[in-house]
Each structure stands twice: as C-alpha cells, then as structure tokens.
Amino acid sequence: MVVADNLVKSFPVAGGQKRAVDGLSFRVARGEIFGLLGPNGAGKTTTLRMLSGMILPTSGSARLAGYDVATQPFEVKRVLGFLTANTGLYLRLTPRELLQYFAELHGMDRPAARRRAEHLVNWLDMREFADLRCGSLSTGQRQRVNIGRVLVADPPVLVMDEPTLGLDVISNRLILDFIRRAGDEGKTILLSTHYLDEAELLCDRIGFLHHGRLIAEGTLEELQRRTGLSRLSAIFLKLAAEGAEATAPAGAVS
C-alpha cells in the first residue's frame, strides 16, 4: 500500500545541501500499522510530508495506494488522511461546516458533502457541539472534529505525524483508540512518534529513523531477537549507537 524507494530530500543551506532524508526505503502492507520512530530531527516529518504529496522528493520515488507521490500528488491526497497533534481547526467555523468544507475539497458535491458531514457528526458523537464554533470547543472535542476531518473521504491510508504530541491524557486516549479502531477496520496506517510505548502498543511493524536513514525495520519480536533486548527504548538506543558507528551522519553537507 505504501512503498518508499530510496527517498532523498535535501534542503539548501549555506554552502550546499543538507539531506534531511537520505535513501529511505520501506514498504507498508494493506491494513498494517507501521511505526516510524526516531528522535527529533531524524527526518520523520519530512518523510511523511513527501509521502503525503506535500513536498517533492529530491530523488527516489514513493507510491501510495499505487499513486506516485511526485507525479500524482492529488491522487495521493485523495486516498490519505493526514493528522498531527498540531493540526489546527478553523475556529470561526462550526464542526459541521468544517467537515462539509473538507468533504467538498475532496471532490464531493454539496449535498453529498452535507450528508457525509452529518454521518460523521453522528458516528463520532458530535451532535452536542456540531453547530458551535470550533473556537469554543474543548481539546477533546477538537480532536474528535479532527478525526472526523481525517475520515471525511474515508481514505484507505492514514498518515499520522506525532498525533499525540502534547495532548492531555483524555485526548491522548481518544487518538490511540481511534488508531486502534482504524487498524481493526483494515486501514493502512503510517504513524510517526517518539513515544516508544505507543509504538509498542499499536504498531505491527516498526522502522527506526536516525539522521534521515532507516537503521532497522521489523516487528517488535524481530527487533528484540536482533538486539537481545526487550524494551523498545533500549533497542532503539542500541541500534542508534550501531548506526552512528557504521555510517557518517546523513545530515552532512554534500
């Protein structure tokens, strides 16, 4: 469902180029939850933005549901739902208006968009606040609206960039429940996080990103076997140390 092949993304810096993502390759099967783990600056967000068609790769290729992210970005965006913890809402719109707006942006005509918004309002139990402006909602209510926005076109792929970063316990639980439920429904989920316990809890497979490179990939059991360690945090630290010894940092100026 998701295929990244030797993806590279460079940004211009004084005196040359800085590689934020350096030759990244991985695959995510249909219905799988793939966790992209790594510290701040590892290249997780840049990878997800490339896979979502928001920025172009410098080289390499990626396909999402069969669509090329560089040449078919709009087709890619049609089949994915994108969510981050920092995702804001239009505070002067109501949840119902917001859902209808995003449904129209996904190509639905007005009556269809209205029906879809109504369905999501009921399904996510938002009737109570569906006609209040988003600016007056609580964090938990806003997260529910955000989940509705992600599901507005019922996409087969969900891309989530640190979706629980900075959230309180209740909102955090809401998001985790949503991811689990979406996984159960067969959606392909690409999740980036540096909360390793969340990854342990949710992900079918895990990829460790360090300095823009994938230093390890596999199920939790495979990674445990390979390192001889049980906790994901310990596994990551060991792999990161090995990776640093084996290769120079990808962020070096070329």
């Binding site: 211009p12 928001m54 709009f74 965006k77 804001g88 002067r92 719109l93 942006l105």
Partner: protein, 725 residues
Amino acid sequence: MTFRRRVRTIYGKELVDLLRDRRTLIAMIVVPIFLYPVLMLGSLQAITVQTQALGQRAIIVAGLGGADGPQAASLAHLQHEYDRIRALEPSATPASKTPAASSEPAPGDAPAAAVEDSAASPPPLQLSWTPCASVEEIGQCVRDRSAHVGVVFEEALTFSPDRRNRIRILYDREEPRSATAHARLEDVIARVAARINDERREALRLPATYFDPFEVTATNLASPSSILGQILPLILVLMTITGAIYPAIDITAGERERGTLETILACPVPVIDLIVGKFLVVTTIAILGAALNLGSVCATVYFGGFNELIAVAGQGIPYGQLVLILLCLIPFAVLMSAIMMAVCSYARTFKEAQNYVTPVILAVLIPGGFAALPATELRGMMLVVPVGNMVLLTRELLIGAPVGTSELLTVLLSTTLYASAAVAVAAKVFGKESVVFADVESLRSTFDRRLIQPSPRPSLTMALVVTAVLFPAWFFLQSWLQSTRGAEDGLGALRRTFAAMPVMFVVVPALVAVYWKVDLRVAFGLGSARVGAWVGAVLLGMSSWIVARELVVFQHNWFGMSELAADSAAALERLLRDLSPVELVLMLGLIPAVCEEALFRGFLLGAMRSGVRKMTAIAASAAVFAVFHFILAKLPVTFLLGAMLGWVCWTTRSILPGVVVHFLHNSILTLSAAHREWFSFLPQPQEGAQDHLPAGVVLPAIAIFTAGCVLIGRSAPKATGGSAA
C-alpha cells in the same frame, strides 16, 4: 472537481471565516462608517465652535487710565455706536454691555450667552478694560497676554464731520486671541465708519454711487485646494490598503500560526487554486472596504453639506463618477491585496506579518503623500507612480476635474501591470515549499544567493517583477533625459534615451538572472535557429513595415489622429532627418531590436513558456511591449508588431530571427520617414501623409510577408525541449 468549483469552495469558506471575525468587521464596516463623519463633521464643528468661542469672548483691552478715565470713555463711546448700528440691522441682536467699559447700557441689551449670531448681522461685542499708565505698559500687557489688544485714542472720540479720530491699536499677530481681537476691533471701527458715512450721505441727499463708483464681482473658476478635497483621496486609498491588510495576514500567516495550512495542503487541492481563492477573498474585502469608504465619504459630504469643501465650486461631488472611481480602485485593490499576501506569506505568525506590513505601508505613504500635495498634478511621471497615480486619479474624479482618456488608461494599465507582477509573486511565494513549511528559513531561501538553486530560465514571477520595475523606471529615465541640459536640441535627448536602453532592457534583467543563477543563454533566448527561420525573418522584416504603415494609415483615417500625436510624429521626423543614415540605423534600428527582443521576447516570453498557453503568452508579452512605448495612438500597431515578434520567437525558440525582423522593420520605417527621396513610391508630404500605398506596393509586400510567415512556421525546431527561449 473543476478549478472553478474548488476556487468557489475555498472562496466561500474564507469569506465566511473572515466575515465572522470581529476584527474584519471593525476594519471593513465600523471604521469607514464612523471615520468620515467623525473626521469631517467632528473636526469642522470643533473648528467652528472654537472660532465662535473666540469671536464671542470678551476682548480684554489695555488702555491709558482707569475705567472711568477719558480713554475708557472713548472706547465705551465706540461700543455704544456699534451697538446702535447692530440694533438698526434687521436680524441683529444687541450685545450686552461690557462691565467696565460701558458707562451706559445700550437699548435692548441681552445676555451674551443668549446671543445667536447670524451671518447677516454684526456680531455682539464685549469689551473689558485693563488700566495702564503708559503706552509701554500697554505693549507689555499685550506681550505678556494679560490683554488681547491695546487701544490708544489720540483725542477723545467724537463723530464730528471735521474731525478725524486717530486710534492706535497694539496687538500680537502671532497670538491667535490677540489677532482675532484686533480683527474684531478693525471690523467694529469699519462698520461704525461705514454707518456714519451712510448717514452723512443721506443727510446731504447724495446717491450711494457718490463715494463708491465701482461694484466689482469676481468669480473664482479654479478648483479650490480645500484640505478635504486634497486628503480624502489619500484616505480612500489608504483605507483600501487597510482593508486588504487584515484578511491577507489572517489567511496566510494566521493560517500557518493556527496550524491549518498543513491540513489544507494535505487535501487534493492544487496550491494555485488555494492562492486564487484566498486572493479573491482579500481583494473582495479590500474592494468592499473601498466601496464602503467611498459611500461613507459621499453620504457625509451629501448629508453634512460639505459639497463646497470637496469639489469644484458650485458643482459638488460628481456622484455619477462614483462608479468610475470604484472601478479604478479595483486594479489598485488587486495590487495591494497581492502585495500584502506576498509579504504576509513569508511570516510565520500574525505578529511577524504585522511587522512585515509596516514598511510596506510606509513605502506606500511616500508616493501617496506626495500625490496628495496640492501642487502635484496627474501628468508626466505621476501617471505611472504606483499608489501616487491612484491618489491623483481619485482626487481628480472626486472633485469633478476633467481626466483625459490617455491619462486614465495610463494609470489603469500601469496599475494593472504592477498588480499582475504582485499576483505572480504572491502565487510563487505561497506555493514555495520553503515558505509553506516555515521550519526552513523561508525568507532567506528566496534572497540568499547561497540557497538559490540554479534554473535554466527565469520564473514568470521574476520576469513580471523585473518588467514591472522597469516600466516606471524607463518612464522616469526618459522624462529625466529629456528634461536635462542639452535636451533643447531634441537630438541629444534621443541619443541619451537609446544609449540608456541597453542598460535598462538588457543589463538589469541580466544582473537579476545572474543573481538568481538563471542560465543567461536560455533566459534571453540566444539559441540558434534553422536556416529557414533566418530567411523568413528577412522576408518579414522587409515587408512588415509596409503592413504596419498601412495599419497606421487605416487607424488614422478611421479613428483620426490627435493634434498632439501628429505634432510629435512631425517633430520626430524632423529629428530623424538630422541623423546620418548610419546613426539612424544603429540607434533606431539595431539598439531597440536587440534590447526589446532580449527583454520582451527573451526574458518575459521565455519565462511564460512553462505554464502559460502559447497564445496567452504571446498576447501578454505583446501587450507589455505596447504599453512600454507610452504612446496611446501607437498602442494597436505596437501590440500587433509585438504579437508577430512573439510568434516568431515562440516558433523558432530563439530571439535572434526576431532581432532581424525588428531591425529591418525599424530601420526601413525610420529611413523612409527621414529620407523620403529614397522611397519614391511613398506618397510625398504634399500629397497627404495619410494616403494608402499603391496596391502595386502593398500586395507584393503582403505576399512577401506571408512567405516569411510560412518559412518561419516550417522552421520550428523538432525537439520540444531545446535550450533556446
């Protein structure tokens, strides 16, 4: 989902979102509705009240001796006489007596507070006496402001016909109250003198004409330079800009700050649709703001009775022109909306955007403020000064002054050109990866040369901005060169103008291209062309001037030629005769051919190759080429010439065949004007310069022209991805 539907969806959402914002409503509706009434009614009423208060306040008079002395008695006598006159006036209300100076109450006295002055009757007079021992002490009292004026009667006041009363008034002109008191006393004395004169004349049964042999009536036909008439256009323009600021910030930096930009970019919507939708909303709000401001101005002027303060005497605001003013403000609103969006797109937060906007407003205030000066006129350079031209145009329309079609078109076309460049910049900035995702240093990545990536050809934004900057610069330079020393011979000015052309049209864009790492060979379309293209270019150049000449004759015969245009053409012909043929061919043939092809067909049209359709690109570059000639009468033919040269360049993927066409066209045309004797088949001046050429000349020319087009059309390079323009 179509482009139009997506834009409509985005437009509708953004408009609702903005109109629900209190700040937008305040900036767009509340401010215009309250600003003008407060500004005009409030300030004028305040001035009137203050003036009335000054006029009605008791005048403190310093004089020799006490309140019961002879000097005070003379003053009281004067006041008594004045009050008598006031009582005789039909609508007069007698003044109260002054406590110190009046020894006797005047008949019919009323409290000063109850006095309502009218324009027809003399105003009431209240005096208060300050005793002094000497004239020096009186002067000191006036200087230290303990008295408004000092009055010294040489002798006791009397109204005997054989006596002239000599009165000395001491006052301080720089002190408003003293100056007002002096004016009031002068007025009182003049009224008393006039009344006494009338009474004496009536007693002698002399006619009114006896002392007054003249009656002069002067009517001022000039537009009054009223303060309101001068500053209102500036306020109107500034309010249009203000209308664009808040929405521009809110939907760019505001969207990024709220974290919704990434969300929207993850939707299947092209960035261009997004920017168009947002840009239309900003423009709508700016235009709505302008319309509300205009409506508020007119309502205040109409209901407040300020017609005479704003417009030509006796005419009032030309309400019929309001629609025209609003239409003129549309390209201006587009320009400012695009500038604001481009600037704000760089900002990561609302506050940062506000900081970016401040210098833009200051930059706008300079030409706007200059244009608002009473002596600045809508002509010459001011026609193309951004913002300034719009302030002047609005002023002229607002006061009902006549505005020529060419002036109106020049202002609108130049503003439209600037607006197009600004829109292109806004679109480019908004869609820029480094700007959208502000974690990369967005502003630096655009201007820091080390971060700029090499590119084969200039971007459309770069080309439009360079062209938009060159347009007024070229206009100013030409005006300046023609007004500097030595310009009186005309020839010197012409030589300087063509000497400056390579710098403006080639060096400036080349420097910009080098800075932004653009391949100069591609940027200027210097690739080679096939043999057929060269032959075709020669055929076109040899014949196009005849076709162009016929078009000009056709235009003149059907639409007429203004006297000014005819004079300019005749003056140019005289100048050309003073040039040697070699200089003429170099100056008017070669230099424009190389420079104009490099800029308009190489740099501008080349930039449009990626992303703009062929016909649109050719028409747009031809329109810019025509506008750059600054002559309204030449607009149609220069546009067609530009379109032909654009087609040649687009087809051959090189500017070089176009240079040949342009060179031959200009050279033969100017030689035929300067040396008619070499072109015996042309009609001689005495035969009438507007005659068509004989069919024996025109038809072969059309045949050669067609052959040239066919050859060029068949000479298009086979590969589509060549290295040329």
